[in-house]
Each structure stands twice: as C-alpha cells, then as structure tokens.
Symmetry: C2
DNA sequence: CTCACTTATTGTCAGTACGACAATAATAGG
DNA sequence: CCTATTATTGTCGTACTGACAATAAGTGAG
C-alpha cells in the first residue's frame, strides 16, 4: 500500500484516468388501468438471478443507444406498444446501489410509462411469464419482487400520484376520447380515494387546456350519456387539482 | 442484413450475454444564495475536453461506491461542505446521450444540492478555477458550459423552483435560524418575482410544520427586529405556497 | 429626547375557490 | 309511463387569496 501515493502524486489520477465501467440498464414501470385498478406490467424471470421471481421489465442499454431509446425499445419489446401509442414516458430515477445486482455492478435508469388499454403481454425472451398485476398486489410484499424493483415501482407510483395534481398525466391513462367520469376514475384509482363527482367535473372544465369538448357522447351505458372529451394542450394544470382533504365540520 | 437473424436465433442473446460497460459519473448542481441572487458553483476545466470552459462539478463513480455517496464525496471535495452542513441533496436526473462526452460513453447522474452560505471554493484537481456564479449568467449563453451541463443546470433550477411550492426546500437555503423576510427573499430569488410581504408572512405561519418560532429576534438591521424561526419538521407543505398569478382587475 | 425613517407584523375587505350536497337533465329498461 | 341510473348544473357557507391599510418596534439624526 505504501507505493500507492508514490505512484499517484495527483490524488485524482486514478479517477480521471481509469473510471470503472459498469453495465447500464433501463427498468420500466408501466402503469395502466384495469377495471378501475392501478396495475403494472410484471415479468416472471426465467433466468438467474431471481429466477422465478416477478420483476419489472427492462434490459441493458446498448452501445450507442440513448437511455430514452433503450426505454422505448424495451417498452415495445415487452408490450408491443410503440412510442406513438404509449400515452407518456418519462425518466423516473436512477438506482445504482453497488449490491443491487448480485452478478455485477449494474446502474439502472428507471422510466415511468403510462399506457391506456395495455394489451395482454406475452412472455418472451428471458421471461417465463408476463402479466399485468395490480400495483397493490405487487407492493404488498406477498409476491416479493426481484432486485430493488419494489422500490422502483414505489417510486413510479408515487410520481404518478404527485403528477396527477399538477399535470395532465391522468389523460394519458385514457383512450383518445373519454368522459369526465372516466377521468375521475383514473384519479380515484391512482390516489386510492373517492372524489366528489360534481366538484371534479367543474374543476376539470375550469382548468384551461386540460380537456377539450368533442361533439360526441358516450353510448351504451345505463344512465344519461356523457359528453366525450379529448386531451387538451395543457401540460401543467393551472390551477392544480389538489388532493382534497375532507373539510372539518 | 440477411445474416442478422440467422446469426442470432434468440433476439436477446447479445443483450443478455454481453452488456456494454460504460463510465458512470455524477454531476452536481449546487445552489446557494449570494446577495439575494440565485447562484451555482461552476468549475473552469483545466483539462481536455472543454479545457478552459466552465462546467458543473462532478466526477466518476468509483467501484463499490453508491451514487449518493459519490455525489456527497464530490460535494465535499469541491466545496469542503460535508453531508451534515449541506442543506439538502437529491437526485435530479440522468443524462446518457451517447455523444454527450466526446471521449467515450459516459452516463451522468445529476444531483441537486442546496447549501446555505456556500464558502468561496478553491480550485483543485482538474479545475483551473472555481467560482460561485449567478445562475442567470450561466444560463444566458454568454459563458457556454461544457458537455450538456447547461441542460443539467436548467433541470436543477427548474426542480428547485417547483419544489419551493410544495416542499420546505426553501428553508435549506437559509442558515439554522432565519427571519420570514429572509425566507421570502429565497422565494423571490429562485422564482425571480417579488412577493407580497404581509401575505407571505401569514401563509408561512399558517402552513403547519414549515417553520417553528424561536425566542430570539434578529438584531443589527434598521427597522423593527424580526422574530427568528427554525426549519419545522414538515417536508411537504400543506397547503402549498403556489406562485401567485397577479389578480386581474 | 424626539422625530423621521425603516422594517415587521397584524388587520381589513372584497372576490374567489372549495367541499358538501341538492336539484335537474337525459337516457335505458321494464 | 315510471323507475333506476348516471351526467351535469346549482346552491351555499366557509376558507383562502391578493391588495393594501394600519400598527408595532426598532435605528439613527438632530
């Protein structure tokens, strides 16, 4: 050890000269609504490590491929959904604990994707099975997730919850056109709390650029038909749709 | 192209077997207030590439070192501020464009740090100079930043602006104890807009857990002495301190 | 010591937004 | 035609907001 400082008079030499190389992966939190329940795509791993455990879809970033491109490629590989059909995709956070992958150092950049009407996935590649499962099930601990994927999923769900307040993210859970009621069910599913129908209705319509009216109405259901709306141009909601805390009497 | 699928019967084989390794770095957006102006720490690079250009402080992640540990280590190396004295540090985003570093593929995880009373930095290591410069100057384009650091800095400033609304981040720009006026100057500097003093005062005191009263008063200035407060336990502000849009008459 | 000046803090007030909930509208099914 | 069901609009009291006036409590000049 005595030769260490002698060989490296500049204390940063080892860092600047020889940074360690690491594998870089992307993992995806793909959220969708199934029967008014917030669900995420999960993969049953067919190979070690964590063989047989559920995990988030993901894979390694290729040489010359941007992080976003890797995320979109994985999204399409695992779900068949291309970038156009994905409602929304954004970077979530990066997880780089030295021990998070038992094989070797892997730094994983997590992405959050929202897909309306996610098709039933098919297993393929390293996956033994692939399913859309309720987020509550995946986070309950009864089905332990591989790696640190429980933390990643939790971060994704929290991000979605927060962004519903001040962005138009909720519309990306819906199809091209939707009713205000459907939009409210998105909020209720993601937040896990009921909202007052009439007040929600008014707030959405009073938020400029959130939704735009179409001349079509919903059909088929029981009760009065509802007007259909499309996503408006707004990205940020002004004013935000804050989570209501019940008023004290 | 015809031999591509023939050579790889399993389309994932190359990915699962041989992920490319990349250098992983952390870059820091270190924000502080100097004379009511939002400033960031910048380094004048002493080595190629971008020699002579200003850049954000940062460095490579070491083997066996977590991302957060690398960020804290760089923070201390560049400013002498240890984790305890840093008001706040959080992961910002990860930048991984294949071309962002001309030498080789480098994936950089950016961190946002808030430091009250940032000491005047000293140049060292690869840096020819180190200074605390106004964010407006750094983002004006007059002093082009190295790599994609302008984007990173912009992301950091935007994060800080957003978080002032719904978190107690602003208190981390202040020293241990501070006046409401000082807190307001933080908001005004970061948002770049003046706020109404009396209304701000009331809002801060009506937000539970934002600040806690001390029994001390400010001294020395002209005018009535102000009560000193400390950071409260709240992390999220409920209700949030929304950026006021001027009321239409 | 008194007064002008400066800054901190509290008050006032009208307009607005919100949550709770009532009322009305529009369809389907019997 | 009647009822059940859902959509949409109204009502109302409270709370909050922004604009700004008023008061409190120091400093420094003379």
């Amino acid at each position: 050890m005595t030769n260490k400082s002698a060989a490296q008079p500049r204390r940063r030499a080892s860092r600047a000269g020889l940074p360690p190389r690491m594998a870089v992966a992307v993992d995806l939190v793909i959220l969708t609504l199934r029967e008014d329940t917030l669900c995420a795509l999960a993969i049953e791993r067919g190979i070690a490590p964590f063989r047989g455990r559920w995990a988030l879809p993901g894979g390694f970033v290729r040489a010359g491929e941007s992080l976003e491109a890797a995320a979109l490629r994985e999204l399409e590989e695992e779900t068949g959904v291309d970038a156009a059909r994905a409602g929304h995709i954004e970077q979530l956070a990066t997880f780089g604990d030295p021990q998070r992958d038992p094989r070797e150092r892997v730094v994983s950049v997590a992405y959050l994707a929202i897909v309306p009407d996610l098709p039933e996935p098919r297993a393929g590649g390293d996956a033994r099975d692939a399913r859309v499962l309720p987020v509550a099930t995946l986070l309950s601990g009864k089905v332990p997730l591989a790696f640190d994927h429980a933390r990643i999923l939790d971060a994704g769900v929290e991000r979605a919850r927060a962004k519903l307040e001040y962005s138009s993210l909720a519309t990306h859970f819906c199809a091209e056109s939707f009713t205000i009621h459907a939009l409210r069910r998105v909020y209720e599913a993601v937040w896990g709390a009921p909202l007052d129908g009439p007040n929600f209705h008014r707030k959405v319509l009073n938020t400029p650029g959130f939704v735009v009216e179409t001349d079509q109405m919903s059909s088929g259901g029981s009760g009065r038909p509802a007007r259909l709306y499309r996503r408006g141009g707004a990205i940020q909601l002004q004013p935000p749709l804050l989570r209501a805390e019940p008023r004290a009497p």
